[in-house]
């Protein structure tokens, strides 16, 4: 079934007559409001019958609770905001995780940070806030909690032990992390095994939990932009891009054509750098030193190209509400485009050399495979999902910033194994280069930033296809340009959730390789 927003609302009204309130909100969004007990039914209709992707769950506390379940589909389907409200004193509502597994971690997060109880959820507690560090029932995301002050913590419990799932005779947990390997983000892997193979691979995350959604509250848009850039340093531009789009949507600002084109240019440059770094990580994990060094050279070159072009190696300080904070020089853009094209030729050569290195391919082929069904049900996003045949890409599904006027492909592979993910990184990198070349060659002239306009109070969603997949930023602005709620849904959050699908049932020595092929970021996940 393929409905556009207006039809979708009519259909929902007919189907749950008298129980749901559904309307077309704008040409890209429909809103469905229903009581909490109908939520699972409506969500599963959206997810299974209409084939929409689950974007994320946004909880807002303003007197009453507002829970917003985000869904998006192909272009004509647009966005669906499924809204349920709860009175302030009520904290229980039915879980949708049993039906839509993609919502699993979103509900766990909301339980941990807001103290909402999702009835029927199989596993709540000890998620974002580690039980061995924090007091029970802290609920830091509630309005009453002051996030600027330190809070009393538990004395670390030396006897704390992770929960073991496998209870076979001879089974044991191999704990790795949070400080492990040479230079990696902190994560604690609880690998359960009875010998050679990893049977359960539970990552314990949030070691870099900086409470960004909380510390953004009560601050100005300009201050929160600094936070948006620092959600994940390696996809800083993508996140500030989504943030600015949300604020622009609230304020009704349309960035000028030059800003739109430059943002696409930079976003693709960032994607290219991310994918090159991912390729480097995969080569490194298999011990193929020369190939890893080749990719590392390209990553450093891209960082330098970025710094020469924009003044910062990670594009900090570049995005601004209404466009960019500074114009980029036309000749610098041309020079960067030439350098990227030249780098593209070397990247293709590397791809070709890797494709005939049989001992390298042995480590990747049929290792860490994720089926298309699993990728769908776990709500995987980005290159990882596309390597398993799930091709939804926000740049084409819900175009923004002029992506609909560009010609490019969204590559897809079907095997879903480590090699499919490697090929996908190469193919997407090639498409990014194609977009960079096209955009760099036809850069519109004119202003680089729309005139400043005070944003009225309101709320809006901004979205981008970040290098690792869909990133959704929900901003609720109060009076005087103050952020009241900032919800950050990141691709790493979705893909860490599905990571165990790939890691389980493979041998220990495959684990670092499977991890590298997922190109995950703990910083982006933890926020």
């Amino acid at each position: 079934m393929f409905f556009e927003p207006g039809q979708m609302a009519t259909q929902a009204r007919t189907r749950w007559h008298g129980q749901v309130h559904a309307e077309r909100h704008d040409d890209r969004t429909s809103r469905i409001e229903c009581p909490p007990h109908v939520v699972p039914e409506v969500c599963s209709w959206l997810f299974y019958e209409l084939g929409l992707s689950f974007g994320g769950l946004i909880v807002e506390q303003a007197g009453q609770w507002t829970l917003r379940y985000l869904f998006y589909g192909e272009r004509e389907q647009g966005w669906v905001h499924m809204i349920a409200r709860l009175p302030a004193e009520q904290t229980k509502l039915p879980s949708i995780s049993a039906l839509i597994h993609a919502a699993d971690w979103h509900e766990r997060e909301a339980e941990d940070l807001f103290g909402l109880v999702f009835e029927g959820h199989p596993r709540l507690g000890d998620f974002v806030l580690h039980n061995d560090v924090w007091q029970e029932n802290l609920n830091p995301m509630r309005r009453a909690f002051d996030g600027r002050k330190p809070v009393a913590h538990r004395e670390p419990d030396a006897n704390w032990r992770p929960r073991q799932i496998v209870h076979e005779e001879g089974s044991f947990v191999m704990p790795i992390g949070p400080i492990y390997s040479s230079a990696t983000g902190p994560v604690h892997f609880l690998l359960e095994t009875v010998g050679e193979d990893v049977i359960r691979a539970q990552p314990r995350l949030f070691y870099t939990y900086r409470g960004l959604e909380k510390i953004a509250e009560g601050r100005s848009v300009e201050d929160v932009l600094l936070i948006a850039e620092r959600i994940s340093g390696t996809s800083a531009f993508a996140h500030s891009f989504a943030f600015c789009q949300a604020v622009e949507r609230i304020a009704g600002i349309e960035p000028p054509p030059r800003a739109l084109a430059l943002r696409v240019f930079i976003a693709e440059l960032e994607r290219l750098r991310h994918h090159v770094a991912a390729i480097e990580g995969i080569c490194e994990s298999t011990g193929l030193a020369v190939a890893a060094a080749q990719a590392a050279i390209m990553e450093e070159e891209l960082l330098r190209i970025s710094a020469v072009l924009t003044g910062h190696r990670y594009f900090f300080g570049l995005n601004a509400v209404g466009g960019l904070a500074a114009d980029l020089d036309d000749s610098a853009v041309r020079r960067a485009t030439e350098q990227v094209s030249e780098l593209g030729a070397r990247l293709s050569e590397l791809e070709e050399m890797l494709s005939i290195s049989s001992s390298f391919l042995d480590r990747l082929e049929e290792v860490g495979d994720v089926s298309a069904t699993d990728a769908l049900e776990f709500g995987l996003v980005g290159p990882v999902a596309r390597a398993s045949g799930v091709a939804r890409d926000l740049r084409t599904a819900q175009p923004y910033s002029g992506y609909d006027r560009l010609t490019f492909e969204v590559p897809r592979e079907s095997e879903g194994d480590g090699y499919a993910r490697l090929r996908l990184f190469f193919r997407e990198a090639a498409q990014s280069i194609r977009i960079i070349e096209a955009t760099g060659a036809a850069l519109p002239s004119g202003p680089f930033r729309a005139p400043a306009a005070a944003a009225p109070s309101g709320a809006a969603l901004g979205w981008v296809e970040a290098p690792r997949g869909a990133a959704l930023h929900w901003i609720s602005l109060g009076d005087n340009n103050v952020v009241e709620r900032y919800r950050i849904v990141t691709p790493s959050f979705a893909n860490w959730h599905g990571f165990r699908l790939a890691a389980e049932r493979f041998a220990f020595q495959d684990f670092p390789i499977i991890l590298a092929t997922f190109a995950l970021s703990v910083h982006e996940n933890d926020r």
């Binding site: 002050k149 040479s182 230079a183 070691y207 870099t208 300009e222 936070i227 340093g233 960082l303 290195s357």
Partner: protein, 245 residues
């Protein structure tokens, strides 16, 4: 597999000449704001734009606390009168805690030092710059620096991030597990004072609140050569930056 040997040889030498010679390749570093002789209205406007209070009006005009710079570039963009930035990268300083007059500082590590990298809660940019130290452009092995995954083998702990509540214990345990003599290098604005993240309910105000810091590297993130300079300072192979901005 001989293709890789050929490929490696054909690529030639990419490695920087630093610290033997200064490196001036474009894009190495985004620089840091420098003390500028600016006064009056323009100066006040610039100081007001700085989100971390790194700028102040003093005797020499606008004075810069480089430790607090988060590279937001707001003193360079969208203003009539820009602040001057210096494009160098030798930014590392020795903290007061470390006895800077002790000429044995780092002597034990002069030939080789093993480094434990701890991400105590950054955004990933500092960590990525640390990772670049192993790429062929910087190749820190040539200077006797090796990354180690265990604190038991580590001489220097290189910490990035403002130290989250979740990492506090792990950081402390790792520090305690290191044999003496040991040095701690804190890299990046968050590691120095909390950056945009801390202090808050879940983030501290820098590494020094958790473990004693010997060398500080400003930057958000500090570019690889700045971190390398910090390591060279910790190993007693290079002079720290002078203390004025």
């Amino acid at each position: 597999m001989s293709q890789w040997v050929v490929k490696g040889l054909r690529t030639g030498v990419k490695t920087t000449n630093y610290p033997r010679l200064p490196d001036t390749a474009p894009g190495l570093s985004c620089g840091l704001p420098a003390t500028t002789d600016l006064r009056g209205e323009h100066a006040q406007a610039l100081v007001a734009r700085c989100p971390t209070g790194a700028l102040s009006v003093g005797r020499r005009g606008i004075e810069v606390d480089q430790r607090r710079c988060i590279h937001c570039l707001r003193c360079r963009r969208g203003v009539n009168q820009q602040l001057a930035w210096e494009a160098r990268y030798e930014w590392a300083r020795v903290t007061d805690k470390s006895n800077r007059h002790d000429n044995r500082f780092g002597a034990a590590f002069r030939r080789s030092a093993h480094i434990l990298v701890v991400d105590a809660g950054d955004c990933g940019a500092c960590l990525n710059e640390v990772k670049q130290l192993n790429n062929p452009y910087y190749n820190m092995h040539r200077l006797g620096f090796f990354l180690t995954p265990t604190p038991r083998h580590a001489d220097v702990m290189l910490v990035v991030g403002a130290v989250t509540e979740h990492m506090r214990l792990a950081l402390r345990k790792a520090y305690d597990a290191m044999p003496t003599p040991k040095r701690v290098v804190a890299a990046g604005a968050c590691a120095l004072f909390g950056g945009v993240f801390g202090p808050s309910f879940t983030c501290g105000g820098g590494v020094a609140q958790a473990v004693p810091v010997d060398v500080e590297v400003p930057g958000n993130p500090p570019p690889p050569l700045a971190i390398l300079h910090g390591l060279l300072v910790a190993a007693g192979q290079r002079q720290p930056a002078s203390s004025c901005g």
